[in-house]
């Protein structure tokens, strides 16, 4: 299973690096979202600093939809889905590989957005460990949930509009928890960030487990 996961994850990342869609489209889109938040808050520096964690995670959430859509768009053409199905790879491995690839893309995006938040909104760091750990765990949760729903939506009509409708309400707790973690980590609130982190871990574990269990059915049926 782990070997298969490495294979699929490596393949997805290679396609992304060669195709340059993630770097030329998704990353600029995420930065654009940050800029638009700046416009919406009308240059109010205090307000932007206060809201920076939430805005950051909304930007990540919106970009993660694109990343997941990409992850399944590359399987849509030339009958690659059937190829994947016939390849004899463990479905759980396919799932984990796809999740890993999306996580790596999201983490790269988060680094970029983090720099953007510091530069554009002028935030300061308070607890870097919490910041990094919560970002990693939240990315795993987002990628796992996104991949499960991406697989479900990839086989049906109107998948472009269906995916956000399915994913966004489900990952709302990730947005809540990650934002609270970051508010604590950036020193803009006195909440116990580590308690929120446990929620992020629970979400990630549940979705990873569900994905591993259900992916063979989803690969066969969708």
């Amino acid at each position: 299973m782990w070997r298969d996961a490495l294979l699929v994850g490596g393949k997805d990342l290679r396609i992304e690096i060669r195709g340059r869609v993630a770097t030329m489209q998704v990353a600029p889109y995420a930065m654009l979202v940050l800029l638009l938040f700046g416009f919406a808050f009308d240059q109010d520096h205090n307000l932007l600093t206060q809201a920076a964690p939430g805005l950051f995670w909304v930007a990540v959430l919106l970009s993660s939809l694109l990343a997941v859509q990409r992850s399944f768009a590359i399987e849509a053409t030339d009958g690659t889905r059937d190829g994947l199905r016939l390849s004899g790879l463990d479905p759980a491995g396919i799932f984990l590989g796809k999740v890993a690839a999306v996580v790596i893309e999201l983490v790269a995006l988060e680094v970029l957005l983090g720099v953007g938040v510091v530069v554009l909104f002028g935030t300061r760091l308070h607890d870097p460990a919490l910041l990094v750990v919560s970002a990693l765990v939240a990315s795993v949760g987002l990628a796992a949930a996104g991949t499960v729903y991406g697989m479900i939506a990839s086989g049906v009509r109107g998948r472009e509009t269906l995916l956000p409708l399915l994913v966004l309400p489900v990952v709302a707790p990730v947005l809540l928890a990650a934002t609270q973690c970051w508010m604590a980590a950036l020193g803009s609130s006195t909440t116990d960030g580590w308690r929120w982190l446990s929620l992020l871990v629970a979400f990630g574990v549940i979705y990873l487990a569900l994905g591993v269990v259900s992916f063979s059915t989803l690969v066969e049926e969708t």
Partner: protein, 279 residues
């Protein structure tokens, strides 16, 4: 194929009549016969709708999850569970919207705002959005078996996340506002209590009436998908053979030459007439 006049039978007629009577009684008691509350005034009348609707919404979602689990379990796999999941989720969403709307009206009168980020409110709104997504997924068409399977997985996953949503929303709201305002709920007694219980009976009846009908609509939709095409072909064949049978009689009167035109026109009129008949 037997012709269905509708989705009703003796049971649903009794259920429907019961729903009508109890809803009318609840309205009568709730709006006229019970007194206004000492603290909340006329606003208290919303408790004859809101708690019952909220319960129906949660029962609907729970029923959807249980039916989906039953569908996923190989031994109990049957399209019946899939239909029940679809019916109860849809009715659950209807009651969820009623719950949010009445809650919002109550909030406006009681708290002064249409919406507040209370844990229960937020959780209900999230659940509503999640199940709207589920219903959208069900509407995407495709092979019924695989649709049933994927939507069952989605329903189970959605409900499995309710504890996470619960913790997230309650931790979050306790950060923002120390106390949940639902505690302002007054003690109720006497006629108010009976009316509230009556409202639960009324909503329960309406809920089951809707679910039964919605289930039967699912059955009809499935039958239409499976047999619709074959039935349409059989009907066209019957028309064609009827047209052929008409022909000798007409040709005997008119003769061989114009008979072709006559039969074709009779076939045409047959088609036109049938368009009305088949409705």
């Amino acid at each position: 194929m037997t012709v269905h006049k509708g989705t009703a039978n003796q049971l649903t007629r009794v259920l429907g009549a019961g729903s009508l009577v109890t809803v009318a009684l609840t309205a009568l008691f709730g709006l006229w016969l019970t007194p206004p509350d000492a603290v909340q005034g006329q606003l208290v009348r919303l408790i004859y709708v809101h708690p019952a609707a909220a319960t129906a919404c949660y029962v609907g979602f729970g029923l959807c999850a249980l039916a989906s689990l039953a569908y996923l379990w190989p031994r109990t796999r049957s399209r019946r569970w899939d239909r029940l999941a679809a019916a109860s989720a849809e009715v659950g969403v209807v009651f969820c919207v009623i719950t949010l709307a009445t809650g919002s009206i109550w909030g406006r009168g009681s708290w002064g705002v249409w919406w507040t980020w209370d844990a229960r409110l937020t959780l209900t709104a999230l659940l509503c959005a999640v199940f709207l997504g589920y219903l959208a997924l069900r509407r995407t068409g495709g092979n019924p078996e695989s649709r049933a399977l994927t939507s069952a997985i989605v329903a189970v996953v959605c409900v499995a996340l309710v504890p996470i949503d619960h913790y997230a929303t309650s931790w979050w709201t306790t950060l923002h506002q120390g106390d949940t305002l639902m505690r302002a709920n007054p003690l109720i007694h006497g006629s108010q209590l009976y009316t509230m219980l009556l409202s639960f009976v009324a909503v329960g009846l309406v809920f089951s009436w809707l679910v039964v009908h919605r289930y039967r609509v699912e059955v009809l939709e499935d039958r239409f998908e499976e047999e619709g095409f074959a039935v349409a072909i059989a009907e066209r064949r019957a028309e064609a053979s009827a047209a052929v049978q008409d022909r000798p009689a007409e040709s005997a009167v008119v003769g061989p030459g114009p008979a072709v035109a006559a039969s074709s026109s009779s076939a045409g009129s047959e088609m036109g007439r049938d368009g009305e008949v088949s409705e």
